[in-house]
Subunit: 332 residues, 2 copies
């Protein structure tokens, strides 16, 4: 019989559909294999085409004084830098001005670099830039929420191949986040525990859904994974804000991410995916009960009417099987 | 400056991204045009292949005693018919047994029929079957929530071309629905009004986002539309449950749906879409403040990391422009 599982932290329900169950191999990416060159003439993110993008807000250089990582304002920003936050309400029309930060983090000067195949040191550098930009965005008094994410591949909504991620900082806290925080608070008030720490400890005890354990981070397929190979990467240390990650943890996160994403890359033949750093709203630190983490969502299936209508998911893959499959993938 | 709009009823936020704005024409479907034949030999939903599907639970016949609409149990059901509802909770593992109903409504005996191009009378018949099956599912004491939806096209998650829709009845009320009901209750308690009636009245007053008005239904692009050409089809009469729709309303809904979907079909070159009937949870009638409606979601853009991380949407099209574009499309 199928199980309808609930994530204890987010309260999200997912139908684990054993009747539709597929083998992990069935999810292998079937996208056309293309060999990219190191430089693409038309790519706005490639060295030599810097004039095609807005001027950089941050840059990391290599030993030859050439840029390795470049942060630029998004040329087509979801929210714009200039302006004040104004709430308007007139009948059914409620809105806030779309001010904030929309940045692109160009992760490499090579058009054909692929994150999990990059040296650990380079991934570490990218995470350092994430932290740097997170803290810079936090200083803007208009900002309530900062999202750092990567869209990899067309199915994940990426329009440019050159390796990059994004930071978007917005002047509202969406209810999706409020709801999670409230649930975490309720759990904390009832049990005295952080629900994310609880989840991590239990997953470590069960072991069956663990994918990669490193010194400071653990990646696992959650018990109520929303889709095939959906993973969480959780810091072992209880901290609510990504901005609080320290240098040792950054080094370790680079290691964990490299192995975790390599397993996806090898095991599922380079699938499209999103990852998102989920942190606490910026002006609301001091929430003992919240815990930041990274969610990795391979885009192997399509959401449809059921998901739109219920906010639930149907996962046609058993989380325990997905984790076992990934654990068995050898990296290097 | 972009606006971040909020839907007054659902509290969903959406960034109306004027910087990324496209013209309605830019959303035209670019999918390969294929001519389908009236019968497909391999299609399990075509006449002659009835043995490829489970035995029908409901059927509508034509004057020659051949089936016109066939309802069958889903061969790969998300939830299964047999079993009792059992809640289990052990540490972080919480689940409910996946029992319920999963039916497929085969809308036509022609493989190449397209809903908006079908005669109004046939669409009316399909909606009558929706109501019939909704009421049948409601009688099952294990059921808490019934979703009727249509996935049209690959981008919308459809795996079979033959025109069909689905009914899934589940033994839980997801928080996504709870949240909407709570918000509607709060609005009702504060103002004495149904927030959906309020929205309908205001949209009718503004007129700028209205797409099609018929006697009993109004289709419009919501002020905070989640994606380009996202529409709501709302009954003018205040009623919480789709099961309460009467015959006159069914006739009128067929008319409205036909025109509304035809405008999408003509204006955007047969785009993929989902529609979902959003009704109140089944054991919770008597909610004065809730109002059922249909949401139509063309699948023209991809959700990405921002949407996963915030639960918000970025809409690169202005709802007022989308509505104007659709109003100007001539049907028949």
């Amino acid at each position: 019989m199928p199980e309808i599982r609930q994530n204890i932290a987010t309260k999200e329900w997912v139908v684990i559909s054993t009747e539709r169950a597929k083998r992990p191999e069935d999810f292998k990416s079937t996208k056309e294999k293309r060999t990219l060159s190191e430089i693409s003439e038309k790519c706005p993110f490639c060295p030599g085409n810097e004039h095609m993008t807005p001027y950089e807000t941050y840059v990391v250089k290599d030993e030859f004084n050439k840029w390795k990582i470049r942060v630029i304002p998004n040329k087509y920003p979801a929210v714009v830098q200039e302006g004040t936050v104004e709430y308007r309400s007139e009948g059914i029309k409620r809105c806030v001005s779309g001010v904030g930060t929309a940045e692109v983090i160009i992760e490499s000067n090579k058009h054909n670099d692929i994150l999990p195949l990059m040296p650990e040191k380079d991934i570490e550098q990218i995470i350092k830039v994430y932290k740097e930009r997170y803290i810079a965005a936090e200083k803007d008094k208009r900002i309530k929420m900062i999202i750092i994410f990567k869209n990899y591949g067309e199915q994940a909504g990426a329009s440019i191949e050159h390796p990059h991620s994004q930071l978007i900082a917005i002047p509202v806290v969406p209810f999706h986040i409020r709801y999670r925080i409230e649930e975490a608070m309720r759990y904390y008030d009832e049990t005295g525990e952080c629900v994310f720490c609880k989840m991590l400890n239990e997953e470590l005890r069960y072991q069956e859904r663990i994918v990669v354990e490193t010194g400071h981070f653990v990646s696992f397929v959650p018990y109520a994974a929303l889709a095939p190979f959906h993973m969480w990467v959780l810091p072992r240390r209880h901290m609510e804000s990504f901005g609080d990650i320290n240098d040792n943890e950054i080094t370790d996160l680079a290691k964990n991410l490299k192995i975790t994403l390599s397993k996806l890359y090898i095991g599922l033949d380079n699938p499209d995916y999103n990852y998102v750093i989920r942190s606490v709203p910026v002006n609301e630190k001091g929430k003992e009960y919240y815990h930041w983490y990274i969610t990795i969502m391979p885009r192997l299936t399509k959401t449809a009417g059921f998901e739109i209508g219920t906010g639930m998911s149907i996962n046609s893959s058993l989380p325990e099987n997905d984790a076992k499959f990934l654990r068995e993938i050898k990296v290097r």
